[in-house]
């Protein structure tokens, strides 16, 4: 039986992605929840302090979809949504920790809160900068979201956005420069 995500992805393809905001809205929570759940199990299982988003997103893809009935185009859609979800998860977590920062410091010194706090701050800055970039150049911002939050390779990013790897490279390196300048400049 095709999974719900598969069905939604295929539906997305039928309708044409740009217009089907509603289906995207249904997909996002599903992917979001799965990614969060997976993140929890990954981190607990491997006693890892941190992991990259890449394997998480790919794992979520295999868990949530029936690969036989998802075509290539929809796979790209999935990664785009996953990258978006991953961004939300990380930003939400950073924001939540910000809110309870004092509590965190008091209670869990052994969890190296300084590192977390530092990462959190830069992550929130990055998010804000990326929002600005999106208003300047939405396509370039998507490249960043896919590469950084989705963990996609240059090639995968090109497939999702239907642009050549060379273009992805150009967009990616110039975006990094812009973001770095925006945050540290």
């Amino acid at each position: 039986m095709p999974t719900e995500v598969t069905l939604l992805l295929n539906k997305l393809n039928e309708k044409g992605r740009a217009t089907d905001r509603e289906t995207l809205d249904r997909l996002l929570p599903l992917v979001y929840n799965e990614l969060r759940r997976l993140a929890g199990s990954f981190l607990n299982r491997e006693h890892a302090v941190s992991i990259q988003t890449t394997e998480l997103v790919h794992e979520a893809y295999f868990r949530l979809t029936d690969q036989r009935s998802v075509d290539w185009e929809n796979r790209g859609q999935f990664f785009a949504i996953a990258a978006q979800a991953m961004r939300r998860i990380l930003i939400d977590a950073a924001r939540a920790r910000g809110t309870h920062k004092r509590d965190v410091e008091k209670i869990s010194l052994d969890h190296a809160p300084e590192i977390s706090a530092e990462t959190d701050a830069s992550l929130l800055q990055l998010d804000a900068a990326l929002k600005e970039l999106a208003s300047l150049d939405p396509d370039q911002a998507r490249v960043v979201e896919l590469r950084y939050f989705g963990g996609l390779t240059i090639e995968e990013t090109g497939e999702v956005l239907k642009i050549s790897p060379a273009t992805v490279k150009r967009e990616w390196s110039t975006a990094r420069a812009w973001l770095y300048d925006r945050i540290n400049g």
Binding site: R21, S50, R176, A177, L179
Partner: protein, 927 residues
């Protein structure tokens, strides 16, 4: 910065980055100065940002550790702790912080990351629905708003209490109290319905009962407004919350239209559980389709039955449909409620609420609640009046095709149940009622076992419905407490029922272990009767028939030891019967037949003992004939006379007295024929006439007199065709008889050199046979009787040199057998048949003759093919146990050796190839 501007800068920057550093300056200088300045700025950043964002975002432990992802304060409410979490929202316990007056509330807040427009829409809808509902038994909405982050929330009355099952058990509520509590829940649901709201997720965990005993209905999270504008939102729902399959109605499971009847269903399941401690269906795998199928095809057990079953602490429920009791001691429930009080009206009320078809449930929650009220007031309930027809209706619906063909059976059932009702209502006092109930249940069971079951017997594909009819009859009889009953007639009836069930299972379905279990139950009952009254002749007759049925099953599965043991018991039983009624010719005959059977069994191991049995058998047969009245035989006596003649002739032939045997057979034939012509209801005589004619033909064949054999076969065929018009004759007997005699005639014609006619007859006979087999495709007994006709045809194919059509015939047969084997790979008899088909095919290819014990072909390809068939047969026999298979294996080894002796290739090489092919062959046979 303007977007257009950035794109220009970006393009130049990218170009610059692709250049080597020494070329960059030249390139940048050539740019528009304003753009150039920007490019320089970003090129600096590129150098500094070497590691920036170089690896994808990291997820650190902080994500997992932050259990404090909960808000602290929402407007004026201080969050205390989360108390529940759904797909899209979390419910928190909170207190109002104002005025020094602390009021506890529940706040439902949308989850972070879930605030997509679809979720928001759904959430706001729940808020809107709740705002409209105002009922003391529905958790009230107090307030609503948005957090600082813009997430919507709403505040509800906080209900402190236990969920309904726990509350009822902890307070040891009695039946009436439970029903009243449940009716209050109904009033809440009903009030929601009046406001056009369907809850759609009613289950015990959504019904809390406060300390004061007030139930409160919670969680309208997937509720639906019955109005047009919300229909589009339907598909979205299940994304946010999986349905609770145990309480969800069939229409929810298969996605059909949901109505107020959906809530009636869920309430029905809740009541079922509240009164019995179990749910009507349990679904371990949460596969929607399986659940829908299960609810569609299985009728839930009656609550009273389940309650009674779980009342016995050590009685592990055998019925898989029934869930384990939810609360540790289901006995708590049962202690408070006497299961027998549920029987009848309350059973009917609950079952009416949880019927599969929404239109057959109560049409409103109000109606459901009112019927319970009627029960509480001691008034007749509506559910009972229509339940009887419904049950039979549903039962027959499951077997629609067969029933259409046997309207008679349906009418019978309904009549029988009407009689039950009538007898019940006319009886005055309790004892008379009990007696009436006993007798009428017996009557229904009897009519199911006799008329209905027999009615169905001759319908093709009817075995399944017969099986359930008989099973139902047994359930009815068992409800009359068989264990305490000592009435031999009644015990007999129950044993008969088991025997009938065993026969169906053995002969129709090849479910041999079930058949054995059924026969054993019948046997135990028979033995019980005889223990009470050893001189009961009739009981001993029944014992013989059960023993012989059981021994047949063991014979089929190749357990010759147990078969022999049971057959000896039959012989012993017959000897005892002769002590009770010396000179009873029927019993003498049965004893003689039993002795012959024992003789066959021990023939190989002790031929002297076998010969002794046979001579005793022949001697007592003469006795039997003496005890028969001379002349003017009754129908039964005629039947017996013919049987005696048949056995006598058979034993004489065995003893080498073929001429005497022929004379005896002829006497039997004449008697049977004229008696049948005088009374065409004597079907036994009809069959024996044909059979004797064939036995005569067999003797002629053994003397190579094919002309005389042909005469007899033609007589048999004409006999069958002439009497086709007799409606009492089973179409199966006629069709199988016609096929077999046609094939036998074909073979005889060939032997007599009339080759063209022979071919026509063989083809016609096989067509008749396979048509007939296809008509009874689910009936294993057709296959069991097939070897006779197929072997005859095979002999013809061998003798006429038509190997290929013969092989095709055996392969077709093997295919049919494989269908049954697939269903039950351990079926020894079907395995035996498959081996038989393979071996016969091998014999045909190799030109094996049992008389010379030699093969006639030396063709290499043919020998290889024969080796393949023999090996397949050998493999099967090696897997089977028993003497028969051991003999067969030895025989096959011999045949294989014969074939290999003509194959020039070295043995070892040949074997390797065979092994490979064998695998292939097995695969083909199984597919």
């Amino acid at each position: 910065m303007e977007p257009a501007n950035w794109k220009q800068i970006k393009a130049a920057l990218a170009d610059a980055m692709e250049l080597a550093s020494e070329e960059r300056e030249e390139f940048v200088s050539s740019l528009d100065p304003e753009i150039g300045a920007q490019v320089r700025r970003y090129l600096r950043a590129v150098t500094d940002a070497r590691d920036f964002m170089n690896t994808p975002a990291l997820i650190d432990r902080g994500l997992v550790d932050q259990h404090t992802d909960h808000p602290v304060q929402v407007d004026d409410f201080r969050i205390l702790q989360p108390i529940g979490s759904g797909g899209m929202g979390t419910v928190y316990l909170a207190e109002h912080a104002g005025d020094g007056f602390k009021q506890l509330v529940a706040i439902k807040l949308i989850k972070r990351g879930m605030d997509t427009s679809a979720v928001l829409k759904r959430f706001l809808m729940e808020r809107r629905i709740l705002a409209e509902l105002d009922h003391p038994n529905i958790a009230r909405m107090l307030d609503g708003g948005s957090t600082d982050d813009g997430l919507p929330y709403f505040v509800m009355e906080y209900v402190e209490g236990d969920e309904i099952r726990k509350y009822a058990n902890a307070n040891n509520l009695g039946l009436e109290e439970r029903l009243e509590l449940f009716r209050t829940v109904c009033s809440a649901v009903s009030s929601a319905h009046q406001r056009l709201v369907i809850h759609r997720d009613i289950k015990p965990t959504n019904i809390l009962v406060t300390k004061d005993g007030e139930p409160k209905l919670l969680d309208f999270g997937i509720a639906k407004l019955i109005s047009r504008d919300w229909n589009s939102d339907e598909a979205t729902l299940t994304q946010f919350r999986a349905l609770t399959p145990e309480y969800a109605s069939p229409e929810q499971m298969d996605g059909s239209t949901v109505s107020t009847a959906t809530d009636v269903y869920s309430l029905g399941v809740v009541l079922y559980e509240l009164l019995t401690g179990c749910r009507p269906f349990s679904f371990r795998e949460k596969d929607g389709q399986a659940v829908a199928d299960s609810a569609l095809t299985t009728e839930p057990p009656r609550p009273s039955v389940i309650a009674a079953r779980s009342a016995q602490p050590n009685n592990r429920t055998k019925q898989r449909l029934v869930d384990k009791p939810l609360f540790r001691p289901a006995r708590v429930t049962v202690a408070a409620i006497e299961p027998s009080r549920l029987r009848g009206d309350l059973d009917n009320i609950i079952l009416k609420a949880i019927r599969h078809e929404p239109e057959r449930r109560y049409q409103s929650v109000q109606e459901f609640s009112d019927d319970i009220r009627r029960w509480l007031d001691g008034l007749p309930v509506n559910a009972t009046s229509d339940s009887r027809m419904y049950r039979f209706g549903k039962f027959f619906k499951r077997h629609r095709t067969s029933v259409l063909a046997s309207g008679a059976a349906a009418i019978l059932l309904i009549t029988a149940s009407a009689v039950t009702g009538w007898q019940y209502s006319v009886a005055r006092d309790q004892q008379a009622k009990a007696e009436a109930r006993f007798q009428s249940i017996r009557l229904v069971a009897r009519s199911l076992l006799n008329e209905t079951s027999r009615e169905l017997e001759n319908l093709p594909q009817s075995a399944e419905i017969r099986d359930s009819v008989v099973e139902r009859a047994i359930a009815l009889l068992n409800s009359l407490s068989v264990d305490e009953n000592t009435d031999p007639e009644f015990l007999d009836e129950v044993a008969d029922a088991y025997e009938q069930l065993a026969q169906i299972r053995n002969w129709k379905f090849r479910k041999t272990s079930e058949a054995i279990a059924d026969y054993r139950k019948a046997l135990a009952l028979r033995e019980r009767v005889i223990r009470e009254a050893p001189e009961n002749f009739k009981a001993r007759e029944k014992l013989s028939s059960t023993l012989s049925g059981l021994s047949e099953v063991y014979d089929l599965i190749g357990d010759s030891e147990e078969t022999g043991r049971l057959r000896s018991r039959i012989v012993e039983n017959h000897r005892s019967m002769l002590l009770i009624q010396p000179g009873n010719p029927k019993i003498i005959y049965s004893l003689a037949a039993g002795l012959e059977d024992l003789a066959v069994r021990i023939e190989a191991s002790s031929p002297e003992q076998a010969a002794a049995y046979r001579s005793e058998s022949l001697t007592i047969l003469l006795d039997a004939l003496r005890y028969l009245p001379s002349g003017g035989l009754s129908a039964q006596d005629t039947e017996l006379y013919v049987s005696i003649k048949m056995l006598q002739g058979f034993l004489l032939d065995k003893a080498g007295k073929a001429d005497e045997a022929l004379a005896i057979f002829q006497e039997g034939l004449e008697t049977a024929k004229s008696a049948y012509l005088g009374d065409e209801s004597q079907l036994f005589l009809f069959n024996h006439t044909a059979r004797l004619s064939r036995m005569i033909a067999d003797i002629h064949i053994s003397r190579n007199d094919w002309a005389k054999a042909l005469e007899n076969y033609e007589f048999s065929l004409a006999w069958i065709r002439d009497h086709r018009g007799n409606p009492k004759l089973s179409p199966r007997t006629l069709r199988s008889g016609e096929a077999i005699y046609t094939v036998r005639i074909g073979r005889a014609l060939h032997k007599l050199g009339r080759k063209k006619e022979a071919l026509t007859q063989i083809a016609e006979g096989l067509n008749l046979h396979f048509d007939y087999a296809a008509a009874y495709a689910n009936d294993a007994s057709i296959l069991i009787y097939s070897p006779e006709i197929l072997s005859t045809a095979s002999s013809y194919f061998a003798e006429s040199g038509n190997i290929e059509p013969g092989r095709a015939m055996w392969q077709k047969f093997a295919g049919k057998v494989s269908v049954f084997l697939e269903r039950n790979p351990n079926d020894a008899q079907m395995s035996g048949l498959l081996a038989f088909a393979r071996e016969s095919e091998g014999d045909l290819i190799s030109g094996y003759s049992s008389q010379s014990n030699q093969i006639s072909t030396h063709d290499r390809a043919a020998l290889t093919a024969a080796v393949r068939s023999y090996t397949a047969a050998l493999e099967i026999h090696q897997r089977l146990s028993g003497k028969h298979s051991a003999d067969a294996a030895a025989r096959l080894d011999h045949k294989l050796a014969l074939c290999r002796s003509f194959l020039p290739a070295s043995q070892a090489a040949a074997r390797t190839i065979e092994t490979k092919k064998r695998v292939w062959y097995t695969v083909v046979c199984r597919s």
